[in-house]
């Protein structure tokens, strides 16, 4: 597992910048903690975001360069690259409300 792209890939697949939502989830290693965070973020995305959203899950232990490039200081970190303004959240993302908030879907 290096990078998993979990959005449904359709024929009309466009570049990432065309997706309604572009999200990056940084986790550290394949642990139960990572699995739980990924499961929650995936479900919330599937239930609340339009189908053309894109969620990229990145394991910082596998891809330290990606983490360095995004200046990630801690995991789990969820970055909403798009829609702008970009926002990033860190902490207990197994809380679905926190994820919804991160996506800007709940105030």
């Amino acid at each position: 597992m290096q990078i998993i792209i979990t959005s449904p890939i359709s024929d009309t697949r466009k570049g990432a910048w065309m997706s309604s939502y572009l999200l990056k989830l940084y986790v550290a290693g394949q642990t139960l903690a990572s699995d739980a965070v990924i499961a929650v973020v995936r479900r919330v995305c599937a239930q609340h975001l339009p189908p053309d959203h894109e969620l990229i899950v990145i394991d910082v232990l596998e891809s330290p360069h990606a983490a360095a490039q995004d200046r990630v200081l801690a995991t789990p970190t969820l970055i909403r690259e798009y829609p702008l303004p970009a926002r990033r959240f860190v902490g207990d993302l197994t809380d679905a409300h926190a994820v919804l908030k991160a996506l800007g879907l709940e105030s």
């Binding site: 739980a36 200081l73 801690a74 995991t75 926002r87 902490g91 908030k101």
Partner: protein, 484 residues
């Protein structure tokens, strides 16, 4: 404390005159004699200024060396009034005198005004000094607390950017505060809670820390104060075990949530397993040992099998009903009934069956209760509500059923003194297979209330639930009056 108060207290009424050589101060002394201020003429010139710790300084600036005196007093923030001429006055003020008196135009009013004015300024200065000092002390105290704290401390603004990092945080991140400040950390989620995060240190290593977040203010803006406690070594094993359990539960919950069908299969297979196992055991015993059993023993096994089959059948029926209701195919056969008789009949039956260990009371407001209702569905409603009340409350406690006439509808309520339902579960009670998290080992399919709701809705009615943990639950069903 008013200003006048402070003036009377602060002014020691002492004025020290530093004279210019060869000048005459008799007129000045006469004027002072008319005031409360006490004038002392000093010798030694401007050099004695550092020795003056109180009172006001009156410096005669006709002395050629006056700039030394003025600047010395200015540096030491000493209150100095210059005795000078009109031509010189401006220079004297620029050099740092607090006020001036013109040698040729002295009178009592001017003198008093100047003395009071300078005293007042000195009082303000003293206040300012005291407050600045307090501020420094509290800042130093705060700085000490934060700097020496073993926990990493970050202040993160609304955009998730680090605004402050203490030395322990520098250690944790293996980055200097200068590097950290201005860097995006991410907006920390979960105020008031602790969670575990992994820190990516600059050298490529990681550290596990416990993060605690509270709301705070930074530069007058709302911000978050993040405390990071290094957990890498401390209680590693025990903590890992607890964390593992927490996450396993979270993951399991998540899997259940994400797939209603899986949940259905899970619940159904689980609920069916117990009665099937009991049937299996009883029938196996009969098969192997029937010849060695007494009639009574055989009868006992057969009864077990019958009871369990009935239980399975009832469950199947519930499931079938929910499925039918979901497909909009629930059969509704209304007939004329006296609603009170209908309800009290069902309640009487329940008293001798599932409710035998509880005190079930039934109370109905007097009056007639004619309406159209489906007896079968109504039985489902009451059976399920009473069964719930029985299951989730102590034997011996009371269950109150009451019937009231409202405008255009009958209100049926079932109240128990049971364990109650957590507030966060109230909203999802009517979802099929959903069970509150405090049900413990009490069995159930999570279908009962769903069936009730379907049956109530078939009547065109509504249902509501109020509950308090440890106090009890009140379910209210309103059935519209229909006359056919």
């Amino acid at each position: 404390m008013t200003v006048t108060d402070s003036l009377t207290r602060q002014a020691e009424w002492k004025v020290f005159l530093i004279p210019a050589p060869g000048s005459d101060y008799r007129q000045l002394e006469d004027l002072f004699a008319q005031t409360d201020y006490h004038l002392t003429v000093l010798s030694g010139g401007w050099r004695i200024i550092p020795d003056l710790e109180e009172g006001l300084i009156l410096l005669d600036c006709r002395d050629q060396e006056w700039p030394n005196g003025v600047s010395l007093a200015y540096q030491r923030l000493l209150p100095l009034i210059a005795l000078t001429t009109r031509q010189q006055a401006e220079h004297v003020m620029e050099a740092g005198a607090w006020d001036y008196l013109l040698v040729d135009e002295l009178n009592k009013d001017v003198l008093l005004r100047s003395l009071r004015y300078v005293t007042f300024q000195r009082w303000i200065l003293a206040q300012l000094n005291a407050r600045t000092h307090d501020l420094h002390v509290s800042e130093a105290r705060f700085h000490n607390l934060v700097a020496r704290n073993g926990d990493g401390i970050l202040v993160v603004d609304q955009q998730g950017i680090i605004q402050f990092a203490n030395p322990a945080a520098e250690q944790l991140f293996q980055r200097s505060a200068n590097d950290l400040i201005g860097t995006p950390f991410g907006f920390p989620v979960g105020v008031g809670e602790t969670s575990e995060i992994t820190i990516l240190q600059s050298a490529g290593r990681t550290a596990t820390v416990e993060m605690r977040v509270v709301e705070t203010e930074w530069d007058n803006q709302p911000a978050r104060l993040v405390t990071l406690r290094d957990m890498t070594e401390r209680h590693a094993a025990q903590r890992a075990l607890m964390e593992h359990e927490r996450l396993r539960v979270a993951l399991e919950k998540e899997r259940e949530l994400s797939d209603v069908k899986t949940m259905f299969m899970h619940t159904v297979s689980h609920e069916f397993r117990t009665p099937l196992a009991m049937i299996m055991t009883a029938s196996e015993l009969l098969l192997r040992y029937a010849d060695r059993m007494t009639d009574e023993q055989r009868q006992l096994r057969l009864t077990t099998i019958q009871t369990q089959i009935k239980h399975l059948e009832a469950m199947m029926q519930e499931i079938a009903m929910v499925v039918r209701a979901d497909q909009g195919r629930l059969e509704y056969h209304p007939e004329r009934v006296d609603f009170r008789e209908l309800v009290s009949g069902i309640v009487d039956e329940l008293r001798s069956t599932i409710g035998a260990e509880h005190r079930i009371t039934f109370h109905a407001q007097p009056g007639s209760y004619h309406t159209l209702s489906d007896r079968k569905l109504m039985r489902h409603i009451i059976n399920n509500l009473v069964a719930n009340a029985v299951k989730y409350s102590r034997p011996g406690s009371s269950i109150h059923i009451s019937l009231k006439r409202r405008v255009g509808e009958y209100e049926l309520s079932v109240r128990d003194e049971g364990i109650g339902i957590p507030p966060e579960d109230l909203g999802r009670l009517f979802q099929p297979f959903y069970r509150a998290r405090n049900v413990g080992i009490v069995g159930g399919t999570g279908l009962g209330l769903k069936v009730v709701k379907d049956c109530v809705e078939a009547h065109g009615g509504r249902i509501s639930v109020e509950s308090a943990l440890g106090v009890g639950t009140l379910v209210t069903v309103c059935i519209p009056v229909m006359l056919g």
